[in-house]
Structure formats: structure tokens, C-alpha cells
Amino acid sequence: MRKRALGAALVLVTSVAQAQSPETLGWLRKMHQATQRLSYVGTFVYQNADRTETSRITRYAAEDIEKLEVMNGVPREIVRTRDKIRCYLPDSRVVKVDRRVDRDFPGLLPEQIAALARHYDISLGETQRIAGLDCQTVVLQPKDDLRYGYRLYADVKSGMLMRADTVDAAGKNVETLMFTQFAPGNVTADMVRPRHEGKKWRIEDTGAVPAYLAGWGLASELPGFHKVTELKRRLGESRPVGQMVFSDGLAAVSVFIEPLESRPDRAATGLASMGAINIYTREVANHMITVVGEAPAVSVQRIADAVEFRRPTQ
């Protein structure tokens, strides 16, 4: 029975190969696996039109723990374990704790990579040298203007993503994440421990739990973006918010819904941006709607404009 199943699977692999470039999708899978599998210490630079920031990422694959430290100024840190994300902010002596309700969230499963071809033309570019490593370029060109394009550079040997450019419709880089130094292996559990004990710090637990936000929804979905989850959490010290997440498989947009009365101030209606992130704020039914996503302004605004509340019938 196994042999037959294998035979059938091989036939399938071949037929898929004819439909899309298996080599290209293979590269995306290789990146995905490297991100999960490798332990490493790397220095990387985040750059958008307004600023450049240098950080260090340490990953301890055996326990699936990752630490990100900001290198300049106040040593802010984020430690991500299997079930929690902790954000240490020494200047305000606050630890923000977010439970990972995304744990069952598939991220980009290998089988979903093939489905990306619905919204992006995926092709291989030239090889380039980054942080001393030869990297293969993979280009994801969006099929419409509702999503950004990406240029990904993966280490030929390990598959590790060394650089990721987010590109707008005009072909301009809106954001770059790039390793300037990368050392795989030799990571111990000690190295991913937070430097701050944070024992007497204020803890802001988001208390995120999956929830059904009755009555809230979009009048119409943005093409390709489907709702993947909705939950309830707290923001900052204790403001209750609802969150709905929409995704096309690669880009994600979150809709935050919070009662106006719990807001400390009244946010202005309009668009703000920070690198590849666009944020659109407006009021709907006595609630502040904040839409946050790594998608072009037009997409974030269209999702924000589609948010509506229909009183649930009881």
C-alpha cells in the first residue's frame, strides 16, 4: 500500500511541477524550513524611508525560543517562546506579555505556499552576496495593487532568508530587513534568556483569547483577503479591544475595534504609515476602528471603510 501511495504522490508532484515552477516554490519552502530549523545569532538592519535600526536576533531552535534585542539606545528586548511573547521595555519598566493564540495559526504552511500563486507571480532572480553569503533572489510580484511585492534573498546553502525587501507598485522599497552578519549554530538556552529580570516591572498582559465579535464584520471583503481569526484582547494598560485578522496568505491586516469611552484620547480619522505598515483610523458605531497592516494604504483604507456593525438579532 505504501508503495502505491508513494507512486501516486510522485505523479502528483510531477503534475504540480508542470502547473508552476517547482524550483521557485521550493525556495520558499526552504526558507520556511530554515527559519524553523536553524539556531543562529544574527545582526540585522531594519530600514524604511524614515529610519534605520540595528538589532540582534538569537534563535535557539531546540526549544523554539527567539530573542530580538535593539542594539542602539535603550536595550529593548522581545523574547518569543512557544506560547508567549514578552516585550521588555526598560525605560518604562514594563513587560508586555502576549499569549500566542497564533500557535494553532498555521503561518505559512508548505502547502499554502503553492496557493500564494493565486495572488503573486513568483519567480527566481539573480544571485547576490549578502552578509558574505551567496543568496538566491525570489521575487513575488503582486497580481494587483492591493498588496505589496517582495524581493526575498535566501542563503543558497541553508535557505535562511538574509534579506527581505517590501516593494510598492512603483517598484520602490518601502521597507528592508537585512542581516549584516549571520552565524548559525552554537546557541545555548542562556543566550535567549532576557537580560532584564523584569521582576518589579509592571506587567501588561494582553489576555488574548479567541472570541466571536458579534455584529462586527466587513460589508465586503477585499479581493484575496479572507478573515483568518478574530479575538479579544487588551491594549496598553487595560483597554479592551476586539481584533479581526484578514490575510491573503502572505500579507495580513488587523482590524481593531475598541469602545470610544475606553480610549484615553480621540484619534484623528485618517491614514498614518511606518515603513510597510499602514494604519487607518475611523469611528464606527461609537467605536474606534484602527486598521493595521503590511499592505498598501489603499487596501488598509478599503478594509477600514468596509467595517460595519449590525446589531445581532437575538
Binding site: 502528483l12 502547502e111 526575498l152 483569547v209 455584529g215 479579544k232 461609537n286
Partner: protein, 173 residues
């Protein structure tokens, strides 16, 4: 479950049980992931025993992708199509109690019904939105949003750097 996976591999499971085990293997949850780990481990063991060549790197992912793309051949609609809705059905059931609290927290107050019933204002696509400063607490929004970006599984946690980036923090003050 591990026993049944093993029996399935030996081809000795009846159709119905086999279907159940295959469902379990296809599940997107932790149990599914564990089941798949067992499946891979057993095959490695069996391959090692048979001294057959170990499959090339990433083989199972390639097969999984192929199965997802053409679910009809090996398991009609079961591996691919039905999986996602099922996960959300399960999720919805699990949070029934929570949702009440959620609704209380988010339902607009009675006097606002008028507003609530009004259709969302339609902004013409060409209209240039007003540009505003980053909202207060931008970092909190980013932290909450980041975990759900599928891109994370390609780039690791690097995008989290945005959540501790200075300008956003200044906006919070």
C-alpha cells in the same frame, strides 16, 4: 493514535479507521503536527530497517503541497478543502463562553443604534485620505498584529523590530 498510524503504514487499517487517521494527520492543530511527526519518524525507522535510501530533503513538504493542490486523487476533498473550515468550527465552539463577554465589551450602547444601522460611509477610491500622526499606542497595535502575519514563518521574528522602534514609541507619549 500512534498505534493506529503504525497500523495504517502497514496497510492493515480498514477504510473507515484509515480515513480517521488520515484526517488526524491532516489536522492543522498540535495533535495533527504530532501525528505527522510520528508518521515521519515511523517512515524513517522503516526505511532504515529496509536499508532503503532516505528521501530527499523536503520530500514530505513537496508531497503535502502536491496533495493540497490536488486533493481528489488520494483522499477526495478531505486533506485539502475541508480542513480549514473545520478548524474554525472547532475554534468557534471552544470560545462560546468567551464570546458573551466579548459581545458585552464590544456591543455599542443602546443610544447608538441609529448610528450602528447607518451604512458605512462610502469613500470614493480616488479620495486621498487625510494623513495623520501614528495613533497613540501604535506599538501595542503592532505587537498585537505581528503574530498573525504569515510572513513571520519566512522571516522569523525580525518584523517585531517595528514594535520596539523609536518613532512609534515616541508617538505613544
Amino acid at each position: 493514535m500512534k498505534d493506529r498510524i503504525s497500523v495504517l503504514m502497514d496497510g492493515e487499517l480498514d477504510d473507515r479507521s484509515a480515513a480517521q487517521v488520515i484526517d488526524a494527520l491532516a489536522a492543522g492543530n498540535e495533535a495533527g503536527s504530532e501525528a505527522r511527526d510520528s508518521w515521519r519518524t515511523y517512515h524513517l525507522i522503516s526505511d532504515a530497517l529496509a536499508k532503503s535510501r532516505v528521501l530527499s530533503e523536503g520530500f514530505s513538504e513537496r508531497v503535502a503541497a502536491a496533495l493540497a493542490a490536488e486533493p481528489t486523487v488520494l483522499a477526495p476533498r478531505r486533506l485539502g478543502g475541508a480542513r480549514e473550515p473545520r478548524r474554525w468550527v472547532a475554534l468557534a465552539a471552544g470560545v462560546a463562553a468567551v464570546s458573551l463577554v466579548g459581545w458585552l465589551g464590544f456591543a455599542p450602547q443602546q443610544p447608538t443604534v441609529q448610528v450602528a444601522k447607518a451604512p458605512a460611509p462610502v469613500v470614493p477610491k480616488e479620495a486621498k485620505p487625510a494623513l495623520v500622526a501614528l495613533p497613540s499606542g501604535t506599538n501595542d497595535y503592532l505587537l498585537a498584529h505581528q503574530a498573525f502575519s504569515p510572513r513571520m514563518s519566512l522571516v522569523g521574528m525580525a518584523p517585531y523590530v517595528r514594535t520596539v522602534s523609536e518613532p512609534a514609541r515616541e508617538a505613544r507619549r
